[in-house]
């Protein structure tokens, strides 16, 4: 029986310690879910367990990860892979080869199996994961979910006993997620060990058999009773619809869009109310982030999209970007210069509301967000939470009349979330900004919001009303 565990493990990036004397054993034969906010160390733990860290990052300052009693980091990869393998957050970045067949062969050839055995295993795994029709397809032409299935096929073909998954659904649509979860559950029932990290604990009720949480303050991992796993309904503390949603400047009519062959939203019409903060909700992969990309004209759509009654097609993209602002899910995508100071200076120089965003106000905000100490630091070297706050502040200073925020609270502690919400409320009131937020997390947020727009069944529905406007 394989065993995988951390003993007295301390791990750090530069001067920041992530785990301190951690003792943790992966429960064999179980489906374990590891939760915790972004940046808390979930991914680091998985990479440590897979023996990939410290080779590819960070420093182990005490203890070790043991795979069958041996230091996991010292086992050669082609031997380690037969025991423990990993699926990654960005499906497209885990393939060295062009086609599905080639990719599976690549993994098997690493194990130095005979050509006949490689062929046998490949055919077996293609059948098992229903990938036969993809065998000769280029992996770049597959959807995120299909790509993850191919990565899983490699892991299965290598016959790894423990499968670690790092946010495997981050780039996978709703059907792909359902399909993968079913496969993983079946694998666990036939003896594999599944250890999956996801910042969003919803949708695992009845699937996960163990639950863990990274405690970033104590730098350790805690066992959490399964009852704490949210059921889908429980998660939906409703947003109270504020009574007057007056007109707004961004409006869409008969809007339809999709990804690839799949339609995500069909004929939706809505006006984004000014001076209000809304929540855009919906299941994973329903098309929320894609709606943001449509509204910012980064994704193809049909129907009418207009700002101040001027159709989007008549406005150059450069001008549109100054009407509809977007805060990306991934903070580092937002930064356009090196240091915090430069980043804020660019925003201030080009702000749509230069009279409002005075240097004094900006300094005050920096202090509120606990960023004053790091103004001279390089953006890319900040912690996840600091990057998030900097990204938000720099877009708030730009002060586009419409602001779309994709998971702006990810990785923030409760205190920071409250500070950010206060800031958002101040801006919406003073500048009459239309703010729309995607956030899987509702706790501590819902009370500050004015309305909820739910994306379900290819429709956008204003909650608390009978139908979409």
């Amino acid at each position: 029986m394989t065993s995988l565990s951390a003993h007295q493990l301390s791990f750090a990036y530069d001067d920041r310690e992530i785990f301190h004397r951690l003792d943790f054993t992966v429960p064999m034969g179980e489906f374990s879910l590891l939760t915790g906010p972004s940046g808390s160390g979930k991914s680091s733990l998985l990479k440590l367990l897979a023996g990939l860290f410290p080779q590819y990052g960070g420093r182990v300052t005490s203890g070790q990860v043991s795979l069958n009693g041996q230091n996991a980091a010292e086992i050669v990869p082609f031997q380690r892979a037969t025991k423990v393998a990993m699926l990654f957050q960005h499906p497209a970045r885990q393939f060295a080869m062009r086609t599905v067949n080639q990719q599976i062969d690549f993994a098997l050839a690493n194990l130095q199996l005979s050509a006949a055995e490689i062929y046998r295993r490949r055919q077996w795994v293609l059948g098992k994961l229903a990938l036969q029709q993809f065998a000769h397809r280029l992996v770049t032409t597959l959807s995120g979910g299909e790509q993850q299935r191919v990565a899983l096929a490699c892991v299965l073909a290598m016959d790894s006993e423990i499968i670690l998954l790092d946010e495997p659904f981050a780039n996978v649509d709703i059907n792909g997620r359902k399909n993968l979860l079913q496969i993983l559950k079946r694998l666990q029932e036939t003896g594999k060990t599944i250890f999956l990290a996801d910042h969003d604990p919803t949708g695992y009720c009845g699937i996960a058999s163990r639950l863990f949480r990274v405690d970033a303050d104590a730098k350790t991992v805690r066992t959490v009773p399964l009852e704490n796993l949210p059921t889908e309904e429980e998660n939906l503390t409703p947003v109270r619809l504020s009574d007057e949603l007056l007109g707004g400047r961004l409006r869409w009519h008969d809007l339809t869009y999709g990804v690839g062959e799949r339609q995500l939203v069909h004929n939706s019409s809505f006006t984004l109310p000014a001076g209000k903060i809304g929540l855009l909700s919906g299941k994973n992969g329903a098309g929320k982030s894609t709606l943001f990309n449509v509204l910012s004209r980064q994704h193809h759509f049909t129907g009418q999209l207009s700002f101040d009654s001027v159709l989007a097609q008549k406005v150059p993209l450069r001008k549109w970007a100054l009407k509809v602002g977007q805060v990306f899910q991934n903070s580092t995508d937002q930064f356009i210069s090196m240091t915090v100071k430069q980043e804020l200076a660019i925003s201030r120089k080009h702000s749509r509301q230069p009279d409002y965003w005075t240097p004094r106000r900006i300094d005050q905000c920096l202090a509120d967000l606990n960023l004053s100490r790091v103004v001279d630091h390089v953006c890319y070297r900040l912690s996840g939470g600091q990057q998030k706050k900097l990204q938000l502040l720099s877009m708030l200073i730009m002060a586009q009349p419409v602001l779309l925020l994709d998971e702006p609270f990810a990785g923030l502690d409760l205190q920071s979330i409250q500070r950010v919400l206060q800031l958002l409320k101040m801006v919406k009131k003073d500048l009459q900004t239309s703010i729309l937020i995607i956030s899987h997390q509702r706790y501590g947020i819902v009370a500050a919001l004015d309305y909820e727009l739910r994306l379900t069944g290819q429709r956008l529905i204003l909650q608390g009303r009978d139908s979409d406007e």
């Binding site: 037969t82 885990q94 098997l108 450069r318 937002q334």
Partner: protein, 227 residues
């Protein structure tokens, strides 16, 4: 990964010819030899039935370079300006066509695997390069995203700004790290044996042909030295 049997020379041989003639070509001062190389490589490309449109496009794109070399020696050169101008003008096309007999007849994967088989190119290099070629499409999407993020701040990037490239480089570094991690997780081990699944036949006479061509060229270029 199995290569189907096809006409033409093995990629390794083409690579050896490309280097073996390309290097001395930099030192030879013969328009006639350049023209002969151009003629033979064009004939080879025709025989291999490469895509005409792509080939013409590549040749067309190179024209300003060839013309630039030709013109600068013609109008600003010293000594035998006519000769020098034609040497450098035709040299651009001789280089280009030598490279085209390799790159237009074989995929990157075929070339790298062939070099691995016959010239011991390391697996780390082969699969690392293959992975990065496969990421080109994603890099294009990222390029768009970076441009858009700058528009959001009313500070659009221009291609001459260093920041723009810095961000692309940071992205590319992150991705290559992600790929390296994933490959390790899939059991790829630097320096270790792997099962060789691809076969890449290379008959001995092709080595002989490459050697003969290189010797003939060097002999002609440095002993006979035609105009």
């Amino acid at each position: 990964m199995n290569r189907t049997k096809r006409r033409g020379l093995n990629p390794t041989i083409l690579f050896v010819i490309m280097l073996g003639i390309g290097l001395p070509l930099s030192f030879s001062r013969s328009v006639i030899l350049n023209a002969i190389i151009m003629l033979f490589t064009v004939l080879y490309l025709c025989w291999e039935r490469v895509r005409l449109r792509t080939a013409l496009l590549v040749l067309l794109i190179a024209f300003p370079l060839a013309f630039g070399s030709w013109a600068s020696f013609m109008f600003f050169g010293t000594g035998d300006r006519l000769h020098a101008a034609w040497i450098y003008g035709t040299r651009v096309y001789a280089y280009l066509l030598l490279a085209m007999i390799l790159t237009m007849t074989h995929s990157v994967q075929e070339i790298l695997l062939s070099l691995h088989h016959h010239l011991h190119l390391s697996n780390t290099f082969v699969y690392g390069l293959l992975g990065s070629f496969n990421m080109m499409k994603n890099l294009r999407d990222q390029y768009r995203r970076i441009k858009y993020s700058a528009m959001l701040r009313d500070a659009p990037y221009h291609f001459w700004q260093a920041h723009f490239y810095l961000r692309l480089i940071i992205t590319a570094l992150n991705w290559s790290n992600d790929l390296a991690i994933a490959m390790t997780s899939q059991g790829f081990t630097e320096g270790a044996e792997r099962t060789e699944l691809s076969v890449d036949p290379l008959p001995a006479w092709q080595w002989g042909l490459a050697g003969l061509l290189i010797v003939l060229y060097c002999g002609a270029a440095f002993l006979w030295r035609p105009w």
